[in-house]
Symmetry: C2
Subunit: 95 residues, 2 copies
Amino acid sequence: MKPTITIEYCPKCGWLLRAAYMAQELLTTFADDLQGVLLKPSEISGRYTICIEEQKVFDRKEMGGFLEIKEVKQLVRDVVAPGKSLGHADRKMQD
Amino acid sequence: MKPTITIEYCPKCGWLLRAAYMAQELLTTFADDLQGVLLKPSEISGRYTICIEEQKVFDRKEMGGFLEIKEVKQLVRDVVAPGKSLGHADRKMQD
């Protein structure tokens, strides 16, 4: 069974568009690796978390801000498709 | 417990963008009525379905095409928030 990613976002902070953007990026890059991406409005102000099944891989409050999409993909890749290359953006990180 | 909507789309047909658009429309209009919207790539070619929990409210193949977003919202409203007005677009249907 492929994993489901949940993006829980604070709608009052206006983060639906950001969450939908990230969902599309993840569903494009990991098209064959995911069951789907759930966009979930949070009832907790300021929350923005990304979970792969029950495993939280990103939390805005813990991180003190947002990550660039490249870094989000690396976090997700490390869990759902560890051997997968993310292309030239990925290689830049290793330089 | 609020319901989760699942939009299952055929990625090979290029319907991710359409599904993500509809997810954002539904999460905006039904912000307080939904648990979330799951974007789910389908392994079945040409599939585009919208389900509220287990209840299928739209199937492209059965319908013979897509509905306009206003009509999608009416289908969803009738299940998740029957008393909710969808504004002037909704009234037009009753004229």
